[in-house]
Symmetry: C2
Subunit: 274 residues, 2 copies
């Protein structure tokens, strides 16, 4: 016995939905150690039988039956996987019946509609948004800055870059980012290029101690990473943003998802893709 409980996320496509839902549920059980495995692209009866064999093998090794979070739209595949000696949690069909009743129309029950490339315009939106974020990272280019949906500002290493990339990849939003630096603090002015674009600005800030840790990991023993200097920058950046009426968010205890969704929520920007 391994002392662990195996949990499987089984899907006819990427498995992302099963993983996210399953993981949200598993973290509610602190007392149990889980070994999480995704079985994606289970889209034929053969693969469904292979999944059953994998699940059963894990259960035999663990000495306890696995958990299975399944998002298999096809009824036959779902049935095959449900024959595994496991606790089978069906994450789609449970909701389809009430939805069919409510909407008064049958579900098409077609596999893998999510995350697949049905909409070319979505693909282009997304790739263009990623390119945009890459070109307009850290003030690298001010060309087409006016074409941004959003411009994140803040001190170096407060989380602007990953947030912009996440907004581009997940939501197709063209997010640029622009650093606030000593020159701006001295002049108490926004960077010149940003002044006409104030409506697009949103600020990120961070606790000085956390910033100092992050910077020290990149540039140990630099003035840039000292707590003293980080305190000065954070304080000055927050004062500058307040002075110019730029809303800002503290990223210190937030994941990239949390920062990105909070920025979307606060700015009221609509996602471009699903």
């Amino acid at each position: 016995m391994s002392g662990r409980r195996s949990a499987f996320f089984v899907s006819d496509r990427t498995g992302i939905t099963a993983e996210m839902l399953g993981h949200s549920l598993l973290i509610q059980f602190d007392a149990v150690a889980f070994r999480e495995t995704t079985l994606p692209y289970v889209d034929t009866p053969e693969k469904a039988h292979a999944a059953v064999a994998t699940i059963n093998r894990a259960g035999q090794l663990d000495g306890v039956r696995p958990l299975v979070f399944a998002t298999l739209m096809d009824a036959e595949l779902n049935h095959i996987v449900s024959t595994a000696d496991a606790c089978h949690l069906d994450c789609l069909h449970h909701f389809l019946a009430p939805l069919e009743a409510e909407l008064g129309t049958p579900a098409t029950r077609a596999m893998g509609r999510s995350h697949s490339l049905h909409h070319m315009p979505d693909y282009h939106e997304r790739i263009e948004a990623v390119n945009y974020a890459l070109i307009h990272d850290d003030g690298a280019s001010v060309r087409e800055l006016a074409a941004a949906d959003l411009i994140l500002v803040g001190v170096s290493r407060c989380g602007k870059t990953p947030t912009c990339l996440y907004l581009a990849l997940q939501y197709g939003i063209r997010a640029a980012n622009y650093p606030l630096v000593e020159e701006d603090f001295k002049s108490a002015q926004l960077p010149e290029k940003l002044r006409p674009l104030k409506a697009k600005l949103f600020g990120l800030t961070i606790e000085a101690t956390r910033l100092s840790h992050i910077r020290a990991a990149r540039k140990p023993d630099s003035r840039y990473a000292t707590l003293h200097h980080c305190r000065f920058e954070v304080h000055a950046a927050e004062a500058l943003m307040r002075q110019h009426g730029i809303e800002y968010l503290d990223t210190s205890d937030k994941s990239v998802e949390e920062i990105a969704t909070t920025v979307l929520h606060r700015t009221g920007l609509d996602r471009k893709i699903y």
Copy 2:
């Protein structure tokens, strides 16, 4: 009446899980036009009551009751939101009871455990992976190429960059990418820097017509974008990858999620973060 059905994704945190699950279900109903709205960070009774008001208003405008996909761990908040005049689909509690029975232990039912920053090492893994992907995009740097978990190769604009960024952001995987260019095709050799790293290589390819469209959108009227030239490059790149035993994937009809999850699945790489 708007002729639409409103669908709400209501969560005590980011709402990402509710969105993903809800969206997977809604796309099974082709016949209905949905207006999808996420209400994230509903983490107090006041916000729950405000969500109810928003949902009810939409229902009155639509003339038909909205759908609500809720991931509200707190029973009181879930109850408040369930009082809206809507079809309430509870995406968490339905699964908690069978999980509690199976695991023989109660769920902690703590809010917002997913996507929040409980694990600093995770945060660092992820940011470092994003930095790595940015530095090692498109062969920009070969320093620390040996530290890559994975190196994607393929012709320009076949999807390497967004895939690397997705792998970094979602899975904390350090993915570099390196273009295959005419010089490589002429010599029938892999780029010199990649030769010692063959075990880390994975190829992406794409249909020539689709590549030509993508390139033309960036550089119209260039030789680079002509169908003739794209055909030559794709053919030569595939021949080179086959010759050197590099597995490759056709990205033409795939979303970034599908490419990334397929690469993970085929290479057997483990995600570093959840």
